[in-house]
Amino acid sequence: MTKDNAVSVATLAQLMPMHLWLADSGRVLSVGPTLDKVVPDLDQGLEGRLSGARGGVDPVAEITSAVDHNRRLFLRVSCGADLVLRGHGVRVDAGTMLCNLGFGIGIHRAIRKAGLTDGDFAPSELAMELLFLHEANRGVLTELSRFNDQLAQSRRVALLQAQTDPLTGLSNRRGLEMALAMALRSAGDAPDVKPVPFALVHLDLDHFKQVNDILGHKAGDDLLQAVGAVLRSQVRKADTAARIGGDEFVLILSGMTSAAALNELAGRIIAAIRALTPPGLGQLRVSASLGVIICTDKPADSPEILLAQADEALYESKRKGRGCATIRQ
């Protein structure tokens, strides 16, 4: 290398585009072309352009120490981006040191800073593979998270559908059971949480069978849909309205404990449902019978028992002549 410097520097540059060759004094003998792009004017001297990245600040002292102790070399690029070069160095002859540097994980910053291209890296380096892997991973991850979002979305839709009555858009029996379990939990379970009382309403249409028999099932379905709309309009957002089968509906009314208010609500619902009576039923009027139970802080009862109690109240309304509500504390 010392015999014919001109040739060796050129071949060195070709072989090791990130090399730095310097005299012990710090005088720079040769800088690889890629290193020159990343740290411009490095051949003018290391001072102010590089510094030790692990404690020592004087770059030449840092390099000398690393070479003499056979340690890894870490050098911070002074201007601009937060860039640390790493590498190692050897003595090639008395009084000079040859270092080969690389970017490590900071390669993206180096590329951005110096606008590096494929040609700036030695073929033996894994720079291109690292960049490839980085972008490929990002692409695959983006796709995977898209898959995930889609799955989560489908799951939400499926859950909602599983709890919805397709005819009326109200909850179905499964939805009601979940809502009732929730209401019971907030009414009793946690001792430190103030229980939220609620009213459970069981509603059954009067003379629905005749609508089906006389006017056909289409008229029956239309009526059920209209009743669904009435119930939806009469409950608040925090309440639940469900159709649990045939012409049976259930409401869970959160915080409703006033018998007077419930009576009034029942009256509004019955009036609205009477108004839905389709023409062609003769003397018959469609109406509704309601059984209401008020669940305050006590309920140790299971959902099934509560529903059975509401059902009992409903049958009392039927016995009383239909088209009315029975409310039990």
Binding site: H108, I111, T117, F132, R138, G139, V140, E143, R146
Partner: protein
């Protein structure tokens, strides 16, 4: 990860031929698979064959177009450009393709390739001959020749693809810089 391939096929059909064709292919696949709803259809290679049949195109052309389409999707194009500094280098290093695919998606099966290069001709010999892959690859090479600005003749032979390079710098290739844009779309975009 068949999902990635299926999604590429789906997006290719959608962006090239529109939602209507995609829907009819999905319906047909659902019927063939005995499913009640086309919601659950996967757009596998069979979907490409169905689409080709509907469009009265040879299947091979369909697979080739898919390969060429992939090179126009920026993130995929970038990955391919990382694999070679010029068109010839890209061809010579195509034998790395299975390894690269494996690095990213270990379950993705990409057929082995052997590169056999003479002066102006590069032959890519398929390790396990697979017609579909062969045409996808031919399309991919066609797209990347455009990308690098090279003029070449691509011939699909028995179990191999032959590329005769006439002029490596025939046209100005598309821009490529290592750092890319910070805002990158998904791996496949409509």
């Amino acid at each position: 990860m068949n999902g990635l391939i299926n999604r590429a096929i789906e997006e290719f059909l959608r962006s090239t031929y529109g939602e209507e064709l995609l829907q009819s292919v999905a319906d047909e696949s659902a019927v063939a698979a005995g499913l009640s709803s086309p919601l659950w259809v996967d757009f596998g290679p069979a979907a490409l064959n169905r689409a080709a049949f509907r469009l009265a195109k040879p299947s091979s052309e369909m697979f080739e177009d898919l390969g060429a389409w992939m090179t126009r999707i920026e993130p995929i194009r970038r990955l391919l450009r990382f694999s070679g500094r010029d068109f010839r280098d890209f061809l010579l290093r195509l034998d790395e393709l299975p390894g690269r695919a494996h690095l990213v998606v270990p379950t993705l099966k990409v057929p082995r390739l052997e590169v056999d290069a003479t002066d102006q001709t590069v032959r890519l010999v398929m390790g396990d001959p697979d017609q579909d892959w062969q045409f996808v690859l031919a399309g991919l090479i066609r797209g990347m020749a455009d990308d690098y600005g090279a003029l070449c003749l691509i011939t699909v032979e028995e179990g191999a693809i032959r590329v005769d390079i006439w002029d490596e710098q025939f046209a100005e290739g598309r821009m490529f810089c290592l750092q890319g844009s910070t805002l990158q779309g998904p791996a496949v975009q409509a």
